[in-house]
Every structure is written in C-alpha cells, then in structure tokens.
Symmetry: C2
C-alpha cells in the first residue's frame, strides 16, 4: 500500500464522518478527528474535554495479563489523549463487558488499577456499567477533562517549517511490556502548553508512521521526517519504532523560535524523559522519511 | 434466590464501589448508583450529566439485526438514562469494537441509526474510536446531557407513602422487537420534572423486579407493588413484565398530593402513552408484591 493512500481505518473514519452531521453554534469547539472532543460548558475561557476509548482482550491485553495492569492501561490511554490536548482528567465512567470468569476478583483488580491511575492523575470514577460477553472482554473508559481554552492543543494548527518533537522512545511497546505500565505524558503536556505555543499535538497510539500523517493532514501540511533521529526503545528496529504503535508518547510541533529554546528548558524540567527533534512540517503534499513504513491499522485490508 | 438477597450484579457493583474513592468537594453531585453521574461544571444552577453504556452482540442484539436499529438502540439506551435524570442529551462519543465483516457497510448503517436518534433527541456525535475483535461486537455510547439542578431526578429521594408510577407497558421487549425500536421517554421525563416534584426516578432496563428494589434501596425505603396493576405488553405474563428487562420505561415516585393530579394532566399531554400507578414506597424493610420474580441479572450465579 502506498504511504499516500489512506489506511483502512482512516478510510472507515472518513466514511463515518460524512454520516455525522456537524454541530451548529459555538458549543462544540473540537469534535471528530482530534484526540478529544472539546465543549464549551464551563466557566468562560475553559473547555470540557471528552474522550472514550476501549481496550479489547486479545488486541490490547492478553488473558494472562494482570487485570490491575489492564485497568491502569485502560485509564491511562484516555489520560494520554486528554494530556495531548493540554488538559487534566476529571471524571471517568467505566463500561466493563467481561467473560464469566472475570466477574469477581478479576473485575475488582481491574478497578484497583483504574483507581491507582485516578490517584496519580487526579480523576474520579463516577459511574459505569457491567455486561457479559461470550467473547473477548472489552473495557471502555469514558473520561472528561478540563483545559483553559488558550492552552487547548489540537492536531491542526501546525505550519510548514514547524519543528516536530517526540517524547520518550518508540517501538516494541508490546514486546517490552511498556503498553501495560506506561505513564502518560500528563505533566509534560501541561508544562508544554503553559510554557510554549504548541502549534499541533497528539499522542502516539498507532505508531509515528500512522499518526504523523494524521497530524500533518489535520494541519493542512506535509512533513519531512528524519528517520535516523527517531528515538527507539532498546532493541527496536526503525520499522518497529515507526509502526508498532501503543507508544503513548507526545508528538508535537513548535514554531522554529520556540523549538530553539525548548530543549534546554525541557532537560531542566524533565531530566529523565527524552525529547527528540524528529523532523519538520512541510508544504502540503511533501511526505518524506517514512519510506514504506506503516503504523498499526485496526482495519488494514 | 430470595428477593431479599442482593443479585449477583448488585453484589459485584457493591464490591467495586468499595474500591472507588469518593470524590471530594462540590463538583460531583451524583456518581455511582444513579442512572447518570452529575457534575457541576456549567453555568450556576445547571448540571452536566454523564452516561456510558454498551450493547453487546449476542446479548443486546443479534447478528441478523439491522445495524441501523442497533445504532438507534445503543444511542437511545443512553438517552433513556439521561431522560430518567430529567435531562436532555448533548454530545456523544461512540466506541465501536467490531468483527472484520462489520468494518464497512455495517458500521455506516450503525452510525446512521445513531444519527437518526441524534436528530430526534438533539445530540451530536463529537468523537469515537474503532477497534477490532475476534468475538462479539461491542458498541459503547458515552453521552453528555444537561439538566437544571432543580429538575435533576435521582433514584434516591423517595419517601414511604410516595406513589409509584410506570410509563408504557412492560415485558416481552426482546420477543416483540421493542428493544430495537423503542422511543426513550425523553419528552415525558422533561415534562415531568418541570411540572411535578419527582421524588425519585429511574429508567427500567433490567425489569421492574430488579429495578424497583434499587430505587427503594437508594431512597432508603421499602415498597409495596400491586402486581395486578403492572402494565403488560400484549402477550406478556406477569413474570415477563417484571423480569424480562429492556423496557426503557420510566419508574418514578410522587408525593400523594402530586399523584392525585398527574393522571389527568398526563392524559392531556401524552394521550398515546399509558401511565399506571403500580404501588407505593413503604417503610424500609417492607418488600411486597414481587413474589419470587427476578429481573435480568448480568451476573446471576
């Protein structure tokens, strides 16, 4: 498949978007196509963020994985999306569709994992639903968050020449167990949107090869990636770093003037977390550096 | 199983509630145990309602059911919960975990069903996620809603002597196809909370035999049900009316003075919808009229 062609998943989403009617009025500030929806309901100048996300047994976790780790992951995936918008999580609703053997201790451990994330990132579980399935379990987390409107970060807003940064290291998330124990870049993102004018930001969930084209498309730009610069987790090949997905790192774009001053400030503030320049946004149509790499596609043909 | 014993599902929920820490402060007005969570984030005197709910293939819909009807049902279940709190729906996030054969036209039809409900009940789809499963599909709908705080209806708040009412007719929801085409009691609920002081309200999703004890428990009361009065769908036995579930009708309690004036007003306003007195709330510990009937229990032993 050419890197210029829409992935299966992006094509499905494009089709569904055409079915959904656009909200009118000023209430909905961001909807389909961003990491979170953003709604004006709170005090002036603040946005309510909304995110829903599911982990599926056999896809996002295995039968043998600790349910506490699964709960942590399910919650932290949503925290990562709220963070990518510059926000802080607030409330969570948990929908658990589980197999018969998972109704007791398994579910309690799952909730302990979610609660652990809640204490860490400041959200409260305020509701949920339980249902049974004969097939793989599905745990859905619906999360609200809050962000000042002036700090709200989106995928769009990048311009040609903006410098692209990635936090942490990419690839081998499943193989290394990172996908179950990652810490979403919550503090880092809150610091970023307060200190810098973040032109565009998203979290990396499907791999840089899938997600960078999405950020560029939302910004109406192209991109030039420097594949040699892409930070890899220990043992990861470039293809794995670009394509494995579930990195839950931040990808963001800064104007060149901001880019020149972030690195020193970042090292001071987050000495344990890598920050790497991986390329820049370019004129629309330019797509360089990905080669034939592809991200994770839920609906690849 | 004795009707006095907690059902499997209620026992699981009680266990999970003990794990979840209580939110502090005034932001969260209602949480676990009500039809929706309610949060103070908007203008003074208004509440944001939050609901998440899933339909599961093989449980809530069948492989042969029209995906458009499944979308309608998935959305309207949440509308019914928002309505039971006296609110109006606003935003929706849809999480679709589907099998390989459902990625194209099936998903588009599902979205058309959701959109149809959105046009009818005034919500907008503002985001969603897609994932694949090898097992039964799971469609999760996370919905926001709004209600004036003075109109917010909860399960608790009923008092001994309050009169219990049920809308519509109960039982045989699956057998009759009602569960796929029901219209949530949205207008009825909005009218109710504006015209009457609704002491307690919920929507009937697991059957009166499961849900009435929940409303009474939340209110700290008992109940006396008049089984002969329970409105049955055509062909439904009393056991079916009490136990089938998926009725999506309203169960609510009014003070006797309000109860005496609602019936004429209701007939005038909603001539096509039955409203039936089915009993009253009583002193704590009193539980009469259910016999051995049980509602639907996702986690029955």
């Amino acid at each position: 498949m050419s890197a210029h062609k829409k992935s299966g998943e992006d094509a499905v989403i494009a089709r569904l978007r055409r079915i959904v009617r656009e909200p009118r009025g000023a209430r909905v500030r961001a909807g389909i196509g961003d990491d979170c929806a953003a709604v004006r309901v709170g005090p002036r100048g603040r946005l309510l963020l909304l995110k829903a996300d599911a982990v599926v047994e056999g896809r996002h976790f295995g039968k043998a994985d600790s349910p506490r780790a699964v709960g942590w992951k399910a919650a932290c995936r949503a925290v990562s999306d709220i963070a990518a918008c510059g926000g802080r999580p607030a409330e969570v609703l948990v929908t658990c569709v589980v197999r018969s053997g998972q109704a007791g201790a398994w579910l309690a451990e799952l909730y302990r994992g979610i609660e652990k994330a809640g204490r860490e990132y400041g959200f409260h579980v305020v509701g949920g639903e339980l249902a049974r399935t004969r097939g793989p379990a599905v745990i859905n987390v619906a999360m609200t968050g809050e962000v000042q409107e002036k700090h709200f970060a989106r995928r769009g807003g990048g311009r040609p020449g903006d410098v692209l940064f990635v936090t942490g290291a990419l690839g081998r998330s499943l193989a290394s167990g990172w996908h179950l124990r990652f810490r979403p870049r919550h503090e880092e993102a809150c610091w970023l949107v307060r200190r810098f004018r973040v032109r565009a930001m998203m979290d990396l969930s499907d791999g840089l090869a899938a997600d960078l084209p999405r950020l560029a498309a939302a910004s109406g730009t192209g991109f030039v990636l420097d594949p040699v610069a892409v930070p890899r987790r220990a043992g990861a090949t470039l293809a794995q770093a670009l394509g494995d997905g579930e990195d839950f790192e931040l990808l963001f774009a800064l104007a060149p003037a901001d880019a020149s001053r972030i690195e020193a400030a970042w090292r001071m503030r987050f000495p344990g977390v890598r920050l790497t320049r991986v390329g820049e946004l370019a004129a629309r149509g330019v797509r360089r550096g990905l080669g034939g790499a592809r991200g994770f596609d839920h609906f690849a043909a």
